[in-house]
Structure formats: C-alpha cells, structure tokens
C-alpha cells in the first residue's frame, strides 16, 4: 500500500497539494487525471523523492520516505518520466538493460541480455533490439522506455503520460500489458493520463486532481459524470456507459464563446485566489 498523508506541496504561491491524503492498493492500476499545470507530474516526483514537500508523509508498506534512505526507496520504483526524447548513441537493448542498472557489470552475462530481450519481446518490439535508438520514432522510444521500466521489476510502477506518442495499437499493447503485470505481480501502478476514455477503460481507481486538491476518487463509473467533466475541465460532455459498462465521455462542441463566458478560474484554477489572499 502506497500512502500519502497530509501532503502539502507548493512552489512559492503556486499550491500543488493542499493537505492531500490518499492510499493506493497493490495489484491495482491507479490513474490520475486533471487539468494542465495542476501538479500531477509534481505529485509523481514527490512520491519518487525528487521533490521535497513542505509537509506530509509518504510511505510504502509501512516504511516512510526519508531523504537519507532515498536510494533504497527509489529501488522499489519503476518510473517513466514524461520526456521521451532519446538522443544518445546506444542500441535499444542497451537502453532497456539500463533498467537493471545495479545488476550491470563490465562484462554482461547472457541472463541479463535475455531478460532485456524478453521485456522487448513481450511488447512486440524484439526486432528493434539492435537498432540505434536515434533512428526510432517518438512512439517507439516511448515503448522502449516502458520496456526499461518493466526491466526494473518494480514494486511501484509510475508512468507519466505513457501513451502520449503512441498509436492506437501500441496504446492498447502498453496498457493491457500494464494491467496484466500489475495484477499478476501485485504491483502498485500509478499513471497520469489525459484521455478520459482510456482512463475509464484501464483504471481500477481514478484520482481526479484540481487546484491542489484530490477532487474525486473511486471507480471510473462512479467518478466520471458530465458535472465532474465540466467542473474540472470547463468542458460540456455527455457520459454514457458502453456495452462493457465502462463510462464513455463524448465532448460537445459549443464554440469559443462558451469559454469566454466561463470564469477565469478554469484557466488558472484556484491559484488566483491564493495569490489574492497572499497580497492582502
């Protein structure tokens, strides 16, 4: 269980988490959604120990995150940051191998190479193993980095917008694979998605962030409503249940005039108020 208690995170007067608390169960896929600039990536970095929060506690299976035990804490993670650019003279296999950084020595054993190749094989990219990563497309790079995260054999898997560059086929390959491994191996998986329909399809638990608060949390069918979509994104949408009982969000076009009438708070949610109070 990955637990966050009373987390407070702010950059100057930009508050990204206000007294935030939640617990993520193992063996489930947890998906974070929310508007741009609301602190989703910063939350992942905080869980990883890369950003120190002003206050609050993060723990995994009863052990708290302490600055002094950072290497041991991070060893439990497979973490795939948002940036997918790979501009380095390495082969695909070498990039995947780096997932097992601590096990690598000057002489590479067959077993590690086979492990990396099997990670590539699982996502259907074995044929790229010996290619220079600089010759790959953005989407291929993203898949390779996913294989690298799998190679870490993590307890907690955190993915920051893992499908942002992927075509329909590889979106499904990555997410199905993630779902299957999470359940088989009991990982605690946490990812950020922007596509609400993908989030609805793959989330066991949906966390909606807005203005530094955990706005809603629960099963997608309970959380995703037209009201929530409007309150969080300022967008009118219909939400229907598809044949599998999964909510499907379809946005409505209402023209730019609809946004002009909207309160400014949608563009800079809550922060204006904070600044206002600060100034006073």
């Amino acid at each position: 269980m990955l637990e966050v208690r009373n987390l407070h995170l702010a950059f100057d007067d930009l508050v990204l988490a206000k007294d935030m608390s939640f617990a993520l169960e193992a063996g489930k896929v947890h998906v974070i959604i929310g508007p741009n600039g609301t602190g989703k990536s910063s939350l992942l970095k905080t869980l990883f120990g890369d950003i120190a929060p002003q206050s609050g506690n993060v723990s995994f299976d009863g052990t708290s995150l302490h600055k002094k035990q950072l290497p041991a804490w991070r060893q439990q993670f497979g973490y795939m940051p948002q940036d997918i650019k790979l501009d380095v003279g390495l082969s695909v296999l070498e990039v995947v191998l780096l997932g097992q950084l601590n096990a690598l020595s000057l002489k590479l054993g067959d077993s590690l190479i086979e492990e990396a190749l099997s990670a590539l094989n699982q996502i259907g990219l074995l044929h790229l193993a010996n290619r220079d990563v600089r010759t790959l497309s953005g989407g291929q790079c993203q898949m390779i980095l996913f294989a690298q995260a799998l190679m870490r054999n993590p307890k907690i898997l955190m993915l920051d917008e893992p499908v942002s560059a992927l075509d329909l086929h590889f979106q499904q390959v990555l997410l199905e694979h993630l779902d299957q491994q999470t359940k088989q191996k009991g990982w605690t998986s946490l990812m950020i998605l922007h596509d609400l329909n993908l989030a609805a399809q793959y989330a066991d638990n949906l966390l909606v962030l807005k203005g530094g608060e955990l706005y809603a949390q629960g099963a997608p069918e309970d959380v995703l409503t037209p009201e929530l979509v409007y309150e969080v994104y300022g967008v009118h949408a219909d939400v229907v249940l598809d044949s599998m009982g999964v909510p499907f969000v379809r946005t409505q076009r209402r023209g730019l005039a609809a946004f002009e009438n909207m309160k400014k708070s949608f563009i800079q949610p809550e922060f204006n108020q904070e600044k206002f109070h600060h100034a006073k």
């Binding site: 290497p71 380095v88 390495l90 950084l101 690598l104």
Partner: protein, 345 residues
C-alpha cells in the same frame, strides 16, 4: 531470441575490434614518434631498443639505446598519457554536461592553470626551482577553479546548463587575470609565459611521466567502475535519477576526477587544445556511447592524435621543434568544422 543475443555478442566483438585496431595504430605512431627527431632512427632500431628494454636479449647500439631511453621515450610516453587523459576528460565532460562540444577546458580549467603558471613565473621561484614551482602553481589554480564548480555541482537544483555558464564565467575571470599578469610582466617574462601556454611535451622527464601515468590511470580506473551509471546519465538527468542514479554524487565524483587529471596534465605540459573535443567525438562515432567502450576508445584516440601531432611537430620544420599545442589546434579546427557541418541527427 537466441539470434538477438548473438547479434549483441557480434556487436560487442565489433567494438573490441575497433579498440584493437586503434591500439595497433597507437603502437605504430608511438614507434614513429620515438624514431623522428634531430637524429633520425630506423623504425626497426627503435622497436629493437624497446624490446631490449623489456628484457629481451637483442643487440642494440648504445647511442640508439641512450637516445631512446633517456631522450625520446619519456616524451613519447607523455604524449600517450596526456592525449589519452585529454580524450577521457573530454568524454566525461561531454557526458556530464550533455554537450558534444565540451572538453576538459570548457569550464575554465586550462585558463586557471595558465594563470597559476604565469603567476609563478612572475613571482619567481620562491626559493624553489622553477621546474617545481610552475607545475604546482598551475595545479593549485586549476583545482581551485574546479572546486568552485564542485560546490555548484553539489547543489541539487543546478542543471548542467547552469554549470556551463558558471564555467564560462570562470574562464573569463582567469583569462583576465592571466592577461593582467602578462600586462605587468617584462617582455622576456611575457615571452616565457606565452611559451608555457603553447603547451609542450619537452618538459617530460621520467619523474613527471610516472606521476602523470599514476594519476591518469587511477582516475580512469575509478571512472570505469561508474561506466554504466555514466551511460545512464546520457539518457538525461531526470531519467538517470529514475533508474536510481544519485546524479549529484556522480556529477561531483566525475568532475573531481576530470579536474585531477586535467590539472596534473596541464601542469606538466601546458595547454594542449582540441584533443579533448575531437577524440571523444571520433570515439562516439566508432563505438557509440556505451561507456565500457567509449572511455577506453576516447583514451586510445586521444593518445593516437597527440602522438601523431608530436610526430608532425618534429617534421613540419626539419631540425626545429614546433610547439605541439599549435599543431593540435591546426589539425583540430578543420575537424571541428567538419563535425559541426556534417553532424547527422
């Protein structure tokens, strides 16, 4: 699957082959370097003299033996060690700063060494011999300038781009201070400073070759232990962190090692430019950036380049020795342009 493992093994063999070819070229240029000079020796005589040094029972004339052992060998060895250390230093600065145009001199280390040496020449020997005081001055100033960067590198929020900016600021500072020393010096002293700045291998003695070799190989040994971490660093600092690399520690450790090598090398031979930029770029093109191969090959290429430059410096003007720092820059600049214009992706 087995096919992919084989392909990887073949790729590894190919890179070993590149290392072997470069090693062979290096041995050749080393022998030619020893053979060229005011009294031209035959290549076979040099090879024989070297083999007899290793204890093989081969007849060598005593003149050849004296020229090889006492005069040429320290200089030729210094060329290898200095070239290699500049190559590896460049490779690691480029890795650390994520910039293929970085070199051991990028962060102002050469300028600081130059200032240290010039200051010592200006102040006089302080009761010690000049051969001792000038290298010490260069070493101390170089490490002093580098330690300011160590302080910055230890800060978590400092990015590699900001490190370069700080390094450039230091470069300008020490260049100005160097100009100041030259400005207040007599013309004769100014000339002496200028000659130090050119860089020259002729100051090599068995003593300083031994010190340089020990420092350089010690530092490279430590760097090789972090080979995979340094490879991971090239994926970007954030991603290296996500793989469990302590980026701040690695950055500091690498910077200290490069500074130690650079300070030692420059204090004995002065400033030799461009090898540090060029060698790692050639190595990268040949074996990629798996540091297990990239570090040794950067060494071999750097050593080969300086060794060849040493040969050139002796034959450009027959009978006279051209300062080697000038030769390397003249070879380096066209290559540098080719690199900028021809850089793929």
């Amino acid at each position: 699957m087995a096919e992919a493992v084989d392909a990887q093994r073949r790729y590894e063999k190919k890179r070993w082959l590149v290392l072997a070819v470069l090693l062979f070229a290096l041995v050749l240029s080393f022998i030619v370097d020893i053979a060229t000079g005011p009294s031209l020796l035959g290549l076979s005589d040099v090879a024989k003299a070297l083999l007899s040094l290793f204890g093989l029972p081969i007849e060598v004339s005593s003149t050849t033996e004296v020229i090889v052992t006492n005069l040429r060998l320290p200089i030729a060895l210094m060329a290898l060690v200095v070239g290699g250390s500049l190559g590896v230093g460049g490779a690691e600065m480029q890795t650390l700063l994520n910039n293929p145009m970085a070199s051991p001199y990028t962060l102002g280390m050469a300028a600081a060494s130059g200032f240290g040496a010039a200051l010592m020449l200006y102040l006089g020997s302080l009761g010690l011999t000049q051969e001792l005081v000038v290298p010490i001055g260069a070493f101390v100033c170089c490490m002093l300038s580098a330690s300011m960067l160590f302080g910055l590198a230890m800060m978590r929020h400092i990015s590699s781009g900001q490190l370069i900016l700080a390094g450039i600021a230091l470069l300008f500072l020490f260049q100005s201070l160097l100009s100041l020393v030259q400005f207040v010096s007599s013309p004769e002293l100014s000339q002496q400073i200028l000659f130090w700045l050119f860089g020259s291998l002729t100051k090599a003695t068995w003593g300083n070759v031994a010190i340089t070799t020990a420092v350089v190989f010690g530092c490279i040994g430590v760097l090789m232990q972090d080979a995979w971490k340094l490879t991971a660093l090239r994926l970007g600092e954030e991603r290296a962190k996500s793989l469990g690399v302590n980026v701040v520690m690695l950055r500091l450790k690498t910077l200290v090692l490069v500074a130690l090598m650079t300070a030692t090398v420059t204090s004995f031979v002065g400033i030799i430019g461009f090898i540090g930029i060029v060698a790692p770029n050639i190595a990268r093109m040949l074996v990629g950036e798996d540091q297990r191969y990239f570090i040794p090959l950067s060494f071999l290429v750097g050593a080969f380049l300086l060794s060849s430059a040493s040969v050139l410096s002796k034959i450009i003007v027959p009978g006279a020795l051209f300062p080697i720092g000038i030769v390397t820059a003249i070879i380096g600049v066209p290559f540098f342009f080719w690199l900028i214009i021809g850089k793929r992706r």
